[in-house]
């Protein structure tokens, strides 16, 4: 047993103890966050020490859950995700006390902190679980704790509704996963993941159930609708953890089961690839049309999960064809993007929290001009947006580059022409998604941080305290450093898949990714242009107003009008409509008042989930009529049931 795994185990136990401590004794925000941060740091150090080692614990001698004993396993894959978990946990913990201060009377700190510790514990438990029962227990802890955290502001009706939708999603996910586990157990006769291989065709039902459960939790189209409800309602550090880590935990499970379990079922792989592409596109398309900052980020998570799963499915696909080189690049892309998305998405969520903290609103139509009043948050948000838009030299580019590279290499090494065409088409689609991401974040940055403030409260916004600035800055630096150092980060990740029989020697491919050179060159040149060309202080004057007098708030472009051309193109999908109402006596030439109200309906919700929910509701109502409330009727039911049982016993025995 290595030191690293001991550290991880000890910090998990500490978290477990702290769950109960916080329940019993009302915790101080500062102390609780300090403890959480130290658990995060311990995870990071343990994960770093565990790299390239495999530690397996059987705790059969101590306790046992039913018929099987708890087994834990820390390998490089788990360590990689633990690293991400630790980093983000630490940052969120440091950020929390000051942020929670402004929610003081809206949340119950006892439940908040015990759910927070349980949440982190659950995620770590899923990552280090080595058999299905431990996995399910940890998975449930993670899901239920996060559901509790979503409803932190428990008095808000919206939070309650969001938590309900999220709970339905997690229940479905757990249901499918449990079914898959049971089938796998009945086939393999073993709960341990090590003995689970998905290559036989009679395991495909189990594989499809597992995949379904995991992608529901990962928020893949068409199961993504819980994300835009749950993320905005949770407090920002929680949404950062949920979007940054929890969603990745399902991706971790997909990698563990299907990449290392050698899934060979072609329809499932193609299906996953298709769903991944659709969710990348669908997610970003809805992200650009959102009006609330955190909803933008939530939909962008859908997009990024799609991108990661493109990598995962390409990896499984290439592995089946024996193209280990491509599989390695694709998996590296998926892993780097999981890690990177964890960093920049939690950064963006923390920044959104800071905006909420300072301006008391996340509605883009009320924000504006925060870059001048909140410079540090503004820079961090712009850095995070650049990373999520995959701009070099940030880490988003490195991971996306791996995905592109894997797809491009597939397009000339895969044996079937149709496969080659599909991968080439995916390159086109991903570039379109990338351009839309840039548009989305241009809108988010510009409307929230640039221009003039659109409401009095955002005009009065002040920079957040130091303890909130530090995690943001740290995460922004992490994004930059992880991007610049990606040529060195990638080769160890490639070693995760054994075998060297790929057609291309993949390590050398990173020689064509000169990210640190780009970073260096750009820095030098920007400093040159700033220092030598723009060195003179400019003459400050009003923005050009066509001579009509100073520009008001209303003349500024809103987020909705920025996104309108794109929304119009995709109006069949977005159900985007503009209701324009012009009033006034001479309304054609001299309108007194023009009201434009864009409306958008989520197609999936109105056409798929609402009807399905209605049918369910109708059936429940029918069943509900049986519950008349009359004791006499109930007695009759009991009697009839008894008679039925007796007769059934007579005739069927």
């Amino acid at each position: 047993m290595s030191i690293g795994s001991m550290i991880i185990g000890a910090s998990c136990l500490t978290a477990l103890v702290l769950v109960f401590c916080c329940l019993l004794h009302k915790p101080n925000h500062r102390i609780a966050s300090l403890l959480l941060a130290s658990i995060g740091v311990l995870f990071v150090s343990g994960a770093l020490l565990c790299w390239n080692t495999v530690t397996l614990w059987h705790i059969s001698d101590w306790i046992s859950i039913g018929l099987i004993c708890p087994e834990f396993k820390v390998d490089s894959l788990a360590a990689f995700f633990l690293l991400s978990l630790g980093t983000i946990t630490t940052c969120c913990a440091v950020y929390s006390p000051a942020y929670l201060h402004h929610l003081a009377d809206k949340i119950n700190s006892r439940f908040y902190w015990s759910a927070q510790f349980a949440f982190v514990l659950g995620m770590a438990g899923v990552l280090i679980s080595a058999n299905a029962v431990v996995f399910l227990v940890a998975w449930e802890v993670m899901s239920l704790a996060s559901a509790c955290l979503v409803v932190s502001e428990f008095r808000q009706h919206r939070a309650q509704r969001a938590a309900m939708i999220y709970l339905v999603a997690t229940r479905m996910a757990t249901g499918f996963i449990s079914a898959g586990f049971l089938i796998m157990y009945s086939i393999c006769g073993d709960w341990s993941f090590d003995s689970w291989q998905f290559s036989d065709h009679h395991k495909w039902l189990a594989a499809s159930l597992l995949m379904l459960g995991l992608i529901i939790k990962a928020g893949v189209w068409p199961f993504h609708i819980w994300l835009p409800y749950a993320h905005p309602e949770a407090p920002s550090p929680v949404s950062a953890l949920m979007s940054g880590v929890m969603v990745k935990v399902s991706i971790f499970a997909l990698i563990r089961f299907f990449v290392f379990g050698h899934l060979t079922c072609a329809p499932l792989i193609y299906g996953l690839f298709a769903l991944a592409c659709i969710s990348a596109f669908w997610g970003i398309l809805f992200a650009i049309n959102q009006r609330e900052l955190k909803r933008v980020l939530a939909y962008s998570t859908v997009e990024n999960v799609g991108l990661i799963l493109v990598g995962v499915s390409l990896c499984i696909w290439a592995n089946n064809l024996g193209l280990t080189g491509i599989a390695k690049i694709a998996l590296t892309g998926a892993l780097l993007h999981s890690f990177g998305h964890g960093l920049f998405k939690s950064l963006l969520f923390l920044c959104a929290g800071s905006v909420d903290y300072a301006a008391h609103t996340r509605d883009l139509s009320l924000l504006g001009g925060l870059a001048k009043t909140m410079p540090s948050t503004g820079i961090a948000f712009i850095a995070g947006s650049s990373a999520i838009c995959a701009l070099p030299p940030f880490n988003g580019f490195a991971s996306k580059w791996c995905l592109y590279q894997g797809l491009l290499q597939s397009s000339f090494t895969m044996p079937l022409l149709i496969d080659r065409a599909i991968t080439l088409g995916a390159i086109g689609l991903l570039s379109c998604v990338g351009a839309l991401a840039i548009a989305t974040f241009a809108k988010a940055i510009a409307v929230a941080f640039l221009g003039n403030a659109r409401s009095p409260q955002s005009r009065k916004a002040k920079e957040v305290p130091l303890s909130m600035k530090v995690p943001q800055t740290f995460l922004a630096l992490c994004c930059l450093v992880a991007g610049v150092s990606s040529p060195w980060l990638a080769p160890p990740l490639m070693a995760l898949i054994p075998g060297t029989n790929g057609l291309q020697p993949p390590i050398s491919i990173f020689a064509t990714l000169p990210l640190w050179q780009v970073g260096l060159a750009l820095t030098v040149m920007i400093m040159f242009f700033y220092g030598c060309v723009l060195n003179k202080a400019p003459h400050i004057d009003r923005t050009w107003d066509c001579g009509f007098g100073s520009l008001g708030i209303k003349s500024q472009v809103t987020g909705d009008s920025f996104a309108q051309p794109i929304a119009r193109i995709f109006s069949p999908i977005l159900r985007h409509k503009l209701a324009i109402h012009i009033s006034g006596r001479e309304r054609r030439h001299f309108p007194e008042r023009i009201v434009v109200e864009p409306s958008m309906v989520s197609l999936l919700e109105t056409r798929l989930y609402r009807p399905a929910a209605n049918i369910l509701d109708r059936i429940s109502r029918m069943i509900g009529k049986l519950q008349a409330g009359s004791i006499h009727l109930y007695l009759l039911y009991v009697c009839l049931a008894l008679v039925l049982v007796v007769f059934a016993g007579i005739f069927l025995w």
Binding site: G369, A371, K372, I382, S386, C389, A390, L391, P392, F397, Y404, S411, F412, R420, A421, L424, I427, G428, S431, C432, G434, A435, L436, I438, A439, A442, I445, A446, F449, L450, G451, N452, A511, T512, L513, P514, Q517, V518, A521, L522, M525, I526, F529, Y530, V533, L534, K536, P538, H539, I540, D541, T543, L551, Q556, V557, F562, Q564, P565, I566, I569
Partner: protein
């Protein structure tokens, strides 16, 4: 010997980066002027304009934040970096790899920061233009990436330096198709005719010009230079594509011939763009997707050609 040659090539590259963008912009204007029966300004006029702008005092909007000037400095830095590394003129010194995706994403970075700069001043015109730019870009990006990816597919490398070092013109049809798709995509990317007329000044329809409306003086000089450099790089890449399609022209040719061919090709592309811009009319904004569809269609045919050429 090698060192001297390399030094000469570096010199040629740096001089081209400074001079060619202005000349190419001037050339397009000259062609358009001649076709409109005007004499027009000399081709080096844009260079003189730049020098003039560098000398002028800068006026900054009171609403603008640090991002406004930062974005123009960043954009020019990216443009210069791309001009050094990407194969838009020939011959070139050994500047290392120029990855196709890095190339396109650096342009994307330029676009993001141009849009941000446009929206920083609180003026209504910049954001509208940025919105149009965003709309155009997501439609044109697949065309740009697929035209280059089909070349990369045949060359089996995403490194544009490797892609463009193959002078055998074996797949000349593919080169022509990719070159045309990329040229059409560039016209949209640079928001030139028929998407937008850069010479008119109607703020409600402009794309690029409205985004830089608030820049002035030295700042405007940086922006203009970055844009001219971007134009030269994009046109240069398509010119190189067309040159690669001519059989036997560039194989084993001396650097001088490469240089003459490269510059001639670039000028011809710029000239034909000038002619095209004189003949065409600006499209209605709602008709822009139809034009972009042509570019995407050519790019898709190029990918089919590449898949067919590669798949034996």
């Amino acid at each position: 010997m090698v060192n001297i040659q390399n030094a000469l090539l570096w010199g040629y590259l740096l001089v081209s980066i400074v001079i060619v963008p202005g000349i190419i912009t001037g050339l397009i204007r000259k062609v358009k002027a001649r076709l409109q029966n005007r004499i027009g300004a000399p081709v080096w006029q844009p260079l003189l304009d730049l020098i003039k702008l560098f000398r002028k005092e800068e006026t900054l909007s009171e609403t603008a934040s640090w991002l406004f000037r930062f974005s123009s400095a960043l954009n020019l830095s990216i443009a210069v970096y791309l001009a050094i590394t990407s194969p838009w003129i020939s011959p070139r010194p050994d500047t290392g790899a120029c990855d196709l995706f890095l190339f396109l994403y650096l342009f994307a970075a330029m676009r993001l920061f141009t849009m941000l700069g446009a929206m920083d001043t609180g003026s209504p015109f910049g954001p509208f233009a940025a919105s149009r730019e965003a709309t155009l870009s997501f439609m044109v990006e697949p065309a740009a990436i697929l035209s280059l990816a089909s070349l990369a597919l045949v060359a089996r490398s995403s490194d544009l330096t490797v892609v463009f070092s193959n002078y055998t013109s074996q797949h000349w049809a593919l080169w022509v198709l990719s070159g045309s798709a990329f040229l059409l995509a560039s016209l949209v990317e640079l928001s030139r005719m028929p998407i937008d007329d850069p010479t008119t000044h109607l703020e409600l329809t402009m794309v690029h010009e409205a985004m830089i409306l608030e820049a002035s003086g030295k700042n405007l000089a940086l922006v203009e230079f970055a844009n001219a450099l971007k134009l030269s790089i994009l046109f240069g890449i398509s010119a190189q594509c067309f040159l690669h399609a001519i059989p036997g022209l560039m194989v084993n040719a001396s650097p001088t011939i490469h240089g003459i061919a490269g510059l001639t090709g670039l000028s011809l592309v710029a000239g034909s763009v000038g002619i095209f811009e004189s003949l065409s009319v600006k499209l209605n904004w709602r008709a822009a997707p139809e034009f972009i569809a042509y570019s995407l269609a050519v790019a898709l045919i190029a990918t089919l050609a590449a898949l067919g050429a590669d798949f034996v």
